[in-house]
Amino acid sequence: MTDNILEIESLESGYGEVQILWGINLHVQKSKLTTVIGSNGSGKTTLMKAIMGTLPTWNGKIIFEGIDISRLPPYKRAEQGLIMVPEGRLLFHDMSVYENLEMGAFTKRARAHLKKNLEFVFSLFPRLKERLDQKAGTMSGGERQMVAIGRGLMGSPKLLIFDEPSLGLAPKLVLEVFEAIEKLKKEGVTMLLVEQNVHLSLAISDYGYVMAEGKIKIEGEARDLKENDEVKKTYLGI
């Protein structure tokens, strides 16, 4: 028995007839921060969509807590505690900040912890507490990312997936987002982080995967990846 919460085996998937993922193997350990890096178009978002069930699994397995979830629709995966903060945030723009957070706790499992999770989100992002009645769509980019992360946490995630949480944010806000993720790590939240910002994500992660052309090219402890020549050359620009 391993302490892997997520095990992906030879996963193949894509859009319509177009195959994008070619046999992905990936593991996420409980209470660890795992990162997936790779250049634009390497298939990171596609992989996350396949994990969440927005895209069908053509071949292979997605095992979450020992059960193959690769045939379940996205909402059933969310009910199991697999929660994603999607690329582009996808907030309910015409709902208030509070309602967005509330929707995050939609599943029966999460509803039971609504109060506790809300306090936790406020402790992480005090600014949200003052903006509860504001329409999510009228908030700034940084604030919207906080709502998106908060909404994810409201779901009592067993595994929280981030797809490019720092995308489109000013440098100062990028740091804020990474600080928040570090805090979550200290709280013991299991996370899978997809990032373009290779420097920062390797700095806070435990384990990393490097993706290219829909395949995993390199994997290893984050601190080893930082020293890997190929990673240095291609992604860190050293």
Binding site: P73, A78, P86, F92, H93
Partner: protein
């Protein structure tokens, strides 16, 4: 003078039920971006349900309305899976055609079974007189029930988990699914509620006006005008739009032959679409 006051009161009461009829159309558009061309057919079906429940069971429309809502909800949810689910993500023309065929089936069967003879429900509740103005009690009840259903819908959409899930799905289906919302169920439920409200409106209208199986088309047109007046996608706008239309009809009727009124409504529809295509009452 009395005629004007009577027209005002009648306009408000009838306008409320027009508003309710439009809300069903509006909700379906808001949640799944489908123009439900079977809306009028379901209004007519609601009228006939009310008629038969009254004539065979002796239950008046204001009591039968709950039963009719449930029937509409179930019919709508089933219709969603048969008619809409597979074409929902296809271009708009597909959903227009599929809801239109549903309408043809209902109206065709209805004409065959019920013929196009006019019918009416007379529960004989009498009128309330204030001075020289007499307002039928059925009309007053119709107005009150319309407000009631609108409030219940509003509370449902804004205060319950399921209602919030409907709003979430209408704003972002993919994100709602990530939160654990079964969006397919929510879409069918929304179509069920839209159809249910159309049938409820039909039931209430049947209590005040005579009708045939073809009457639905008239109210469908009114619903379109109301949605354009109030802006598609806003339930409160629909109620306000309904009030405007009801008042307009009743006040125009004082000066213009009734037969011209649908023509005037259609002209209003076209003018608004030309001048302000987003509707008169819109958020932001």
């Amino acid at each position: 003078m009395y005629a004007w006051i009577a027209a005002l009161i009648n306009g408000i009461l009838v306008g409320l039920v027009y508003g309710l009829a439009a809300i069903g159309l509006n909700l379906i558009w808001g949640v799944m971006k489908v123009i439900n061309l079977s809306h009028g057919a379901f209004i007519a079906l609601g009228m006939f349900c009310a008629y038969f429940i009254f004539h065979f069971a002796g239950i008046n429309p204001f009591l039968a309305v709950i039963l009719i809502l449930i029937v509409g909800l179930i019919l709508g949810m089933i219709s969603y899976f048969i008619v809409l689910h597979r074409v929902l993500d296809a271009p708009e023309l597909s959903t227009l055609l599929s809801t239109y065929s549903l309408s043809l089936i209902i109206i065709g069967l209805g004409t065959f079974i019920f013929t196009t003879n006019p019918r009416a429900i007379d529960i004989g509740l009498g009128s309330i007189g204030i001075g020289n103005i007499y307002i039928p009690i059925t009309k007053i009840l119709t107005g009150l029930f319309s407000i009631l259903f609108t409030i219940v819908l509003y509370v449902f959409l804004y205060k319950t988990w399921t209602g919030k899930a409907i709003r979430a799905v209408s704003l972002n289906r993919a994100a709602a699914e990530f939160m654990g919302v079964n969006s397919t169920f929510i879409l069918s439920l929304s179509f069920g509620i839209g159809v249910g409200l159309a049938m409820v409106a039909g039931c209430l209208i049947a209590a005040i006006f005579p009708f045939t199986i073809l009457s639905g088309a008239v109210y469908e047109l009114k619903s379109f005008v109301i949605c354009v007046l109030g802006g598609l996608g806003s339930p409160i706008g629909a109620l306000v739009g309904g009030l405007i239309l009801g008042l307009l009809e009743n006040i125009c009727a004082l000066k213009i032959p009734v037969g011209y009124i649908p023509f005037i409504e259609f002209v209003i529809l076209v003018i608004i679409l030309l001048v302000k295509p987003t509707g008169l009452i819109t958020k932001r």
